[in-house]
Assembly symmetry: C2
Homo-oligomer: 362 residues x 2
């Protein structure tokens, strides 16, 4: 087992990474300090793992709730179901919530923990690679609103995270690849050595070989933890985690949520960000090819959705939270393994980059 | 104008206390750092003060919303109305919410500010004495749930508070007295000199004489700020703010919310807490009489509701958040001007105290 400590002063917590972790009764018990536990999961994960988790908790007063699976259920109404159950069970301030599921379950459970009695403990057991390397670090919790994604929420840290590689064996391959997109992102923005390691180990990761998978998760969490520790409330450096995301959000919204997985849209977005970085004379063409090649080796998409024009992109990117005074800001690389802070990019150059990249790869 | 600085590290903020403050354009502007402002008020306060406040903000993009007035509207649904309006106006992270109203408006506005985009700025302009001396310090925000009061919320601090004595002239007298109950509480739990000052100035306060009112608010905020600074997240000392509240909550719940104002129920609860402190041999009978006399001089009630038996009290007090392992814990005084931390009190003594106090004063 490996441990990454997320260093946030009095909000610090450990991420345990390894095989068959969440059936390690002793380990889970170290993070529980009251007698009341509520497990929040979804209808897909419940039949796979709930019973195994319950087996570890037979000395506690445990209740569980299975929410509907899917981003469209990431709402205040779902979080209210959690509150209803907590209050029906008369759970008190020293109760603990356990999130057993992907990012949606984690975000809602964390938000419920942040708000119930103004804050109770919670533990994350992410069951997707994306949630293990992304939402398990950073304390972003919350729900969507009909007028925007992740608009309502809180920064709130868990007591600990179990990134259990064994649960990834039941993950659909397409979702595994979507998680790998975020892993590659960490190499691109922060660590060229990790990028090189990924080039040598991407096949083992996709085959779910335990040691490669564990290291990929560990290094991803370390990098995200380093960035988040320096900027817990997202006022500066943390924005570099958005490499590829401004383009990616435009793809998700423009094609309708659900056609592309988040990680797939980000993969395409990172290809565009590499191309843009080159056109800004920050990286050379070999670097662009190197990044895109790695993305393609994982099976992730690298070509633009044919239904989106450059104007569609610009229109959709205009609503991004990073923008200032209506100017589109994106993350580019200063060099491979080092991202720049968000910067305004001339819309003519953006349009040209999208058009020419689209023409090159279609 | 007086200023009380609430010292909470990077979450510190000023409380401005004085006459006609919120028409001091310059002062309000010092607390606003973006161009977008949303005022949250209720249907009672809106016709009294909204236009005056809008006049101070004509250089900003301002929107306002008037929620239904009353504790029964302190719900997630009302907070969602605030979110809807913020998103309809496309308000961004540097927007500011202004709470213009009593404790209910302040609690909901603060909670909306805590959650919108995971946290934006807010300012409080409390329009009741109770909100000025109680909810303006401490950062407790939130809403009720059908299964319990204040069950959903956050600890979240404002950028500043305007405790404007001029707005108290439109406050119903009964609500003014209910606020005075909390002012007396600060003397009882923390400051015998302030208690003596109140004995000399209670008539001026009730006549709304400005200098007495300002000092009463200032000293109350200072005491609460000192307690909260020592214990922001309510793990210890802060519990002494609950003097009279455990009994008071039982009265509010047992008689049906609305029959007694919160401050009235707390006033009766403080009388019981004084009596109990005496029976625990912490204070002498003169101290009990002194406290009860001050409470009665303000016009606040000191006699128990005839419809509640001692058993009713014990049953209702059994659900208090301070209890541990089912044992009722209350706040008593070690001496006049100094409260003790919560302690378990034998239910026989509690029953006897309630019965005999009831017999004495009926």
């Amino acid at each position: 087992m490996n441990v990454v400590n997320v260093d946030l002063g009095e909000n610090s917590y450990p991420i345990y990474i390894g095989n068959n972790l969440f059936v390690d009764k002793q380990l889970i018990h170290t993070l529980l300090n009251g007698s009341q536990v509520m497990i929040v999961t979804n209808t897909t994960v419940k039949p796979l793992y709930l019973d195994q988790l319950l087996d570890q908790l037979n000395e506690f007063k445990v209740t569980s709730i299975a929410l509907q699976d899917g981003e469209q259920y990431k709402t205040l109404a779902s979080v209210n179901q959690i509150f209803d159950e907590l209050l029906n069970q008369r759970f008190s301030r020293n109760a603990t919530l356990i999130a057993l599921g992907g990012g949606v379950v984690g975000d809602m459970t964390g938000f419920a923990a942040a708000c119930y009695l103004r804050g109770i403990n919670f533990i994350q057991i992410p069951t997707t690679l994306l949630a293990q390397v992304d939402s398990s670090v950073g304390g972003k919790t919350g729900v969507n609103h009909p007028l925007g994604k992740n608009m309502i929420g809180a920064f709130y840290q868990p007591q600990g995270v179990f990134a259990d590689t064994s649960v990834l064996h039941t993950l659909p391959e397409r979702e595994l690849m979507a998680g790998v997109a975020e892993v590659i992102k960490y190499g691109l923005i922060y660590d060229i050595e990790f990028l090189a390691w990924l080039e040598n180990h991407v096949d083992q990761i996709l085959k779910l070989e335990d040691s490669a998978l564990s290291y990929a998760i560990q290094r991803s969490c370390e990098i995200k933890a380093a960035i988040v520790s320096a900027d817990e409330k997202e006022s500066g450096l943390r924005a570099i985690l958005n490499l590829g995301h401004t383009f990616g959000h435009a793809i998700e919204a423009g094609c309708g949520y659900g056609q592309y997985l988040h990680g797939e849209a980000v993969a395409i977005g990172m290809c565009l960000a590499l191309e843009l970085s080159h056109r800004l004379q920050r990286i050379n063409l070999d670097d662009v090819v190197r990044g895109i090649t790695l993305i393609e080796r994982t099976g992730l998409p690298s070509t633009l959705p044919p239904e989106l024009t450059a104007d569609d992109f610009l229109r959709l990117m205009a609503v991004d939270k990073k923008n200032v005074d209506g100017n589109i800001r994106v993350i580019v690389l200063n060099q491979l393994g080092q991202a720049a802070l968000p910067e305004t990019v001339n819309s003519g150059l953006l349009r040209q980059t999208i058009n020419e990249y689209g023409d090159m790869r279609s």
